[in-house]
Symmetry: C2
């Protein structure tokens, strides 16, 4: 295991570690946590399975960090959308555009939280709570839109579930070609938002 001296110490290491997280996220999204062997992940990087342990503590740590990274990105996306301002409808719209882009764009694949039950109890609690917080924030955007008249009256919990589901399912069929990526980014937010418009 490596010890970091200071923040600037090891750029190369950090880059490779990030690459590892992305490769893992892609594998997990495609074949599930348990369906992915460390060899699968290592193969994508041209490494041996054992080499992964130089960057991370084990497989559980790997999902955990993938999920945390996804939570971070989701949170940032939400912050950004709120900062952009506007009525509820346009905030939600901005959020969707950014979030779809996070899945399909160059930021690389972000992990979908499809196997919470496979997490270690101590991780599960934290991830689940962040995920719930994220849903709650999205629902409150919908509520705001309903209040300001920009979004049609609806069950925000269920509608939120529908929208998030549509997005979370993307990695199941989208495998990263840039033509399709553009289609997704243009179509998804449009369709999902049309269902909310008054």
């Amino acid at each position: 295991m490596r010890v970091k001296i200071d923040g600037s110490a090891t750029r190369a290491y950090d880059v490779k570690r990030e690459r590892l997280l992305r490769a893992a996220a892609r594998c997990f999204n495609e074949k599930g946590y348990s369906g992915t062997s460390l060899k699968d992940v290592a193969d994508k990087l041209g490494l041996t399975d054992a080499a992964i342990y130089y960057y991370i503590n084990g497989k559980q740590q790997l999902v955990y960090e993938c999920y945390m990274r996804a939570a971070d990105i989701g949170q940032r996306t939400m912050d950004e959308a709120l900062a952009a301002g506007g009525d509820g409808f346009s905030i939600a719209s901005t959020y969707l555009r950014l979030h779809v882009n996070a899945h399909c764009g160059d930021e690389g694949p972000i992990a979908i939280m499809s196997e919470i039950p496979s997490l270690l109890p101590e991780h599960r609690e934290e991830i689940l709570s962040r995920s719930r917080e994220h849903s709650r924030r999205f629902e409150s955007i919908l509520e705001r839109g309903i209040d300001d008249g920009s979004i049609v009256d609806c069950d925000v919990r269920m509608t939120g579930n529908a929208i998030m589901g549509a997005i979370n399912w993307i990695p199941k069929w989208f495998h990263g070609d840039s033509t399709t990526a553009k289609q997704v980014e243009q179509t998804f937010p449009d369709y999902l938002m049309r269902g909310l418009a008054r």
Copy 2:
């Protein structure tokens, strides 16, 4: 292994076998194919893992049958919606209602095809082809609606992906309480269809 004499021979056996498929589908939906051990499934039935082999040939056979069952139900749902008739919009609407109900209603959990890569090659081909066929049929309903003016002009491939994703994700958060089931059945088709209306 059991040999069936004739169609009517063993009612009890068939019932238990069906129960097994449902228990497996629920487990697979929650924890993924590889994340589910035969013991997990057996526990839900009050059996030992080995007992499962009395009903089915192995774990691969189990997913295969779960996925086939899902494909059967999806196909029947689609047939029914088409038989009900109407313009494209109302066919799509009927289909969504039936399909959401298949996930949340008493028909029990139906497997979502979230781990195609884990299937044996000979199974994968068949399941994948049925799944594609199903998508194609749904897209053609959307096209029909666009032609007859009941559905807004859109990219049917992407819009179909969005709708199917929203539905496929349901089992990730819905765990079978009947109050929520009603909410889903009332809200989902409504929201998903509003995005298609002209």
